[in-house]
């Protein structure tokens, strides 16, 4: 017998479960099945692990993944280094009056789509763009420099795209940090450096972790930014998945890559959590 309260609960839960099942679980199962099949010489589908083997056998595939992962980690670290002072300043230094305004200022760029933001950067950085024009005007350079289409501009674009997802969890955990903890440490003889490394950072570690996970996943799964700003060297793993699906019509290989991305990125996050002695439930709480 289900009592009335439970029934209500189930009724409210049903759409969520249905949504999870129909839009997440079933497509993944389907994708997984596809990834385990290859087309034989007769054009028939047969079961095989070749799609997964191809990832490890073909240097270009796993190298692309390694490259993507390294850049995603780098982006995550840079994003943290850039957003932390901003978050700290807004939550702890700035007076309450202005902090709301600056928080909104941080959010404004994210009201437009990623595409528009990236094109904005391209207008600034391109050879005939705003920065070059400015540098030429003040005589710092004599011929325009191409600032786009290299790894630096790509990482910059990725950091810019990810900033919001780092700054929000950082700010919310910094807000939870009672100022008196900082004062107490100061009072007990700690220098500013020690306060940061022993008090502030450990306290907001869950916030850092959740921000880092989100930024890492988003960067790893990004497609637009590496393509548009990175230009010719920026083969990203997602682009390889796209190419398998779209250009090569090889859905099986694409599905296998998709699953590998899922598994390997999960593995990297797991390793990261182990190394920093964090656990996921704490970071997401």
């Amino acid at each position: 017998m289900i009592n009335k309260g439970q029934l209500t609960l189930y009724i409210f839960l049903a759409p969520v479960l249905l949504w999870l099942l129909l839009l997440i679980v079933i497509p993944h199962i389907d994708l997984f099945i596809i990834s385990l099949q290859i087309e034989d010489d007769m054009g028939d589908m047969v079961w095989s692990l070749d799609n997964y083997r191809a990832f490890f056998d073909e240097q270009i595939y796993w190298l692309t993944f390694v490259r993507t992962a390294i850049y995603a980690i780098l982006t995550t670290i840079l994003t943290f280094l850039i957003t932390f002072p901003v978050a700290f300043y807004i939550t702890k230094v700035m007076s309450f009056k202005y902090s709301g305004f600056f928080t909104i200022l941080l959010l404004v760029p994210f009201w437009v789509s990623e595409m528009v933001r990236i094109y904005g950067w391209m207008i600034l950085l391109r050879e005939s763009g705003v920065f070059n024009h400015f540098l030429l005007q003040i005589g710092l350079i004599e011929v325009p420099i191409e600032m786009l289409y290299n790894d630096i501009s790509m990482v910059m674009g990725l950091v810019y795209t990810s900033m919001l997802f780092m700054v929000v969890p950082l700010m919310s955990s910094l807000e939870g940090l009672d100022d008196s903890l900082i004062e107490a440490a100061y009072d007990l003889g700690a220098s500013k450096l020690v306060i940061f490394s022993k008090i502030v950072i450990p306290y907001i570690l869950p916030g850092i972790t959740s921000g880092a996970i989100v930024v890492f996943m988003l960067t790893l799964g990004n497609y637009l930014t590496p393509n548009l700003m990175g230009g010719k060297n920026s083969l990203w793993f997602t682009e390889q998945i796209y190419n398998q699906f779209i250009a090569s019509f090889n859905w099986n290989q694409g599905a296998a890559f998709g699953f590998l991305l899922l598994v390997l990125s999960t593995l990297i996050i797991w390793l990261g959590l182990k190394l920093t002695r964090q656990n996921l439930s704490k970071a997401l709480a």
Partner: protein, 356 residues
């Protein structure tokens, strides 16, 4: 006599608001000194200036004879117990207490030894490995004190540390804190808005109001000989009435048209001056002996406020709307008193004190 803390003419403004106004005092070595005042009186500002989190606009602070102006908090020989204790939640008890010692670059064996002995001292010898979240309110209190005391500060500053505790624990901690202070001999400067904390624990209490000290005295002195209406009102319970001086010798005041009491002027008051008349509840005598020389008047009991040894009567003075609170001794003599009763009461003239 040597002073651990000397404060001279300290001033601090926030924009146009003067939070601390020309405050001077000395704290004797090894004593328990309290600063008592209502919230917003400037006591926290004063404490933060002593700790080094705020710099004064004027005046001087000397600790053991040396001025500490311009010395940052991490280099001052004082430690502060914060209102919410501010224990570091990501560290265990040992790490919390060792935090300050590590900053002094002590050897780890020495740190270990000191941490263990201070934990012993505050009565938590087995608690080193516990997480902060596993401690009760009183235990947190003790850890916070241990964390500061282990650094052997010249002065320990305490910012209403008992405020967050429940009543029973607060009563218990008051006594413990006093004992601990006597034990270690460190000078304590304690701020609070709770007079009972200040009175029970302190050797000296400064009553602070609107940025300035009204009176610095022993608890007993404050209670028995308040030097201002504010102190009289703030320390202990008091019945206060607006009155006017009727005659100077003998000193009489009239209040609520009808009543004229003989009393004691606490400073120069001339006929016609407005003043405040204070009468402590316990100085009201119920059914005074007929031959006693005192201010007599009739009251009607409104309520008996039973609180064990602290039981009080709330009554209205006959023919006036004024209320008066009187103590009701629990010695069976007045067990019959109940709401609606009419009683004769009296107050000795020495207990009727008047301030401007």
């Amino acid at each position: 006599m040597s002073f651990d803390l000397e404060v001279d003419n300290l001033v601090r403004d926030f924009a146009s608001f003067r939070a601390v106004d020309d405050v001077s005092f000395q704290v004797e070595k090894g004593s328990f000194f309290s600063i008592l005042g209502p919230s917003g009186c400037g006591k926290t500002t004063l404490l933060r200036m002593i700790a080094g989190f705020l710099e004064p606009d004027d005046g001087d602070i000397r600790i053991r004879g040396e001025s500490v102006l311009g010395v940052p908090p991490n280099l001052r020989p004082v430690n502060l117990i914060f209102q919410h204790l501010s224990l570091f939640p990501m560290m265990d008890v040992n790490e919390n207490i060792a935090f300050g010692l590590k900053r002094r670059k002590l050897q780890s064996a020495q740190i270990k030894h000191k941490v263990a002995s201070i934990l012993e001292r505050v009565g938590l010898p087995e608690y080193g490995e516990k997480k902060i979240s596993q401690l009760s309110g009183g235990q947190k209190q003790r850890v916070a004190i241990a964390r500061a005391l282990v650094l052997e500060p010249s002065i320990l500053l305490l910012d209403e540390p008992l405020g967050a505790l429940d009543l029973k624990l607060r009563e218990q901690m008051k006594i413990e804190l006093k004992k601990l202070q006597q034990d270690v001999g460190t000078t304590f400067v304690y701020i609070t808005h709770d007079q009972s904390e200040a009175l029970v624990m302190s050797d000296q209490v400064a009553v602070m109001n609107r940025g300035a000290f009204e009176q610095v005295d022993t608890p007993k002195g404050l209670y028995a000989h308040p030097k201002s209406g504010f102190v009289a009102d703030f320390i202990g319970e008091n019945n206060a009435y607006a009155a006017r001086v009727e005659s100077a010798d003998p000193f009489r005041v009239r209040f609520d048209q009808e009543l004229v009491f003989e009393g004691r002027a606490m400073h120069d008051l001339t006929v016609g001056d407005q003043c405040q008349l204070f009468i402590r509840p316990e100085s009201v005598v119920i059914n005074p002996a007929p031959d006693e020389q005192l201010n007599r008047f009739q009251v009607q009991v409104k309520n008996v406020l039973f609180d064990g040894a602290n039981t009080k009567l709330l009554a209205t003075i006959a023919d006036t709307g004024l209320e008066i609170m009187t103590a009701l001794p629990q010695d069976k003599r007045f067990d019959h008193v109940s709401a609606g009763d009419k009683l004769e009461v009296g107050v000795f003239q020495d207990s009727c004190i008047c301030f401007r």
